[in-house]
Symmetry: C2
Subunit: 261 residues, 2 copies
């Protein structure tokens, strides 16, 4: 965050590496989309309105296809490409995107603001990206949720004035909730049946640990009714050794809460 001209600028930078964050054979248009969406999701979590992006691009197998996907993603998120740098690399393709946004509410939501007694909410179901990846690998069904996640920019801006803490779920609900708990010095008691699922119920445990859904996770005072559809999944309690208490069971990062990288 950067104070400038009486406003707060929110800046994010995310990287994607071939073979690490995406598969060598994947459609470059989908990769471009994901690069934009992950950065836009970071802005969404801050309640920021996107202004522009800068691209760091190492040339790949099909640059025209990447550019086409980039254009689609920028249009879908209503943001413009301002510039950047292009390089030739002998190694795996490495992409970086910087996104610049304007904070629409002060203070800018952070992951460190949850208070004991606050309710914990999520904007929508988890598990969709997991099913999407499976469909993608199998070449069956709808893989859009995995290939083309959409950042919840509008939701983030609407929520910002109401939340005590907010972040996007990119590495798994439990892991990201644990990070919010640590940053806020609380423990989250989470009620798994209350978490909305996009997958069969018997895969709940996986869905709670799967990333890439880009829902917004937020806390608000207990009496607050969020101005948009959201699901109350737990509450903030006095911190104990574990950041998460799932259906009464204490969990910490060592228990494998999500995608560690």
């Amino acid at each position: 965050m950067l104070e400038f001209g009486g406003e707060a600028l929110v800046l994010t930078h995310d990287m994607l590496v071939e073979g690490v964050h995406f598969l060598p054979g994947q459609d470059p248009a989908d990769i471009a989309w994901k690069l934009v969406a992950t950065n836009m999701s970071d802005l969404a979590a801050k309640g920021a309105e996107p202004l522009a992006v800068l691209l760091g691009y190492s040339l790949g197998q099909n640059d025209a296809r990447f550019v086409a996907g980039l254009k689609e993603a920028l249009d879908a998120h209503e943001v413009v490409l301002l510039g950047g740098d292009t390089v030739r690399s002998p190694g795996p393709q490495t992409l970086g995107l910087t996104a610049i946004g304007r904070a629409t509410h002060r203070p800018v939501p952070s992951r460190g603001g949850a208070k004991v007694g606050d309710a914990l909410w999520i904007t929508g179901p988890v598990g969709a990206a997991m099913l999407g990846l499976e469909a993608f690998k199998a070449g069956t069904g709808d893989s859009l949720a995995y290939r083309r996640p959409k950042a919840l920019l509008g939701e983030g801006m609407v929520l910002a004035p109401h939340v005590s803490a907010m972040m996007d779920v990119s590495d798994g609900l439990l892991l990201d909730a644990a990070r919010m708990a640590r940053a806020s010095c609380v423990t989250f008691a989470i009620d798994s049946p209350a978490v909305p699922l996009a997958c069969p119920e018997d895969r709940c445990g996986e869905a709670l640990r799967w990333g890439d859904d880009y829902q917004l996770l937020f806390t608000a005072p207990p009496q607050c009714v969020p101005p948009i559809s959201a699901f109350r999944i737990g509450e903030a309690r006095v911190a104990n050794d574990s950041p998460i208490q799932l259906d009464g069971a204490r969990l910490s990062e060592a228990d494998g809460l999500g995608y560690q990288h």
Copy 2:
């Protein structure tokens, strides 16, 4: 450039790839320095005051040494690290830096503003980085000019109100001058004996084509005396087929004017 809060933000993003922009065995502290300096030099050419940087970093052999060099470079250019992303990559190390600055003068100088009759100036000698690289490879003498170039931020801000066009010389004086000529629709007549050299005179031809010196190249109306020390090396003439006329000889990009990448 981005209009924001009544001001103009200048944003740049440059990448460095191991094996392409730096050698695998090079001191990570020097690489960090160069990454910062190249981006700061882009801001200098816009007369911008640096506000902050974001780093995209793929882990390397000696990350602590990189961080130490980064800190030195940020301190030397009086700018702060705001955030970024760190990734593991199986390939060559790939680094990206985004720099954000505030334009100190409007209109923000560009490479497209040179007018016929304007004088062409450079802030200092070329050839120092060339000698520095040779000293570095030979393990003799002073390689600082190559390893630790300093962006001319103060000079850029002082010059901005006086110039009709400005850019930094990163890929070679002749090549960058050709780019300015193309963008401004003029031809630059350059007088090579007037170009200050940091190397022996018999290497003038090389020094005019060597990058990495990060001097500022600018044009100004013929009667203008720049407020800082600078060297008048030519003038803008009505455009012909060649962007550069060096000591009367017409040259274009095909003649090998600098470092093409």
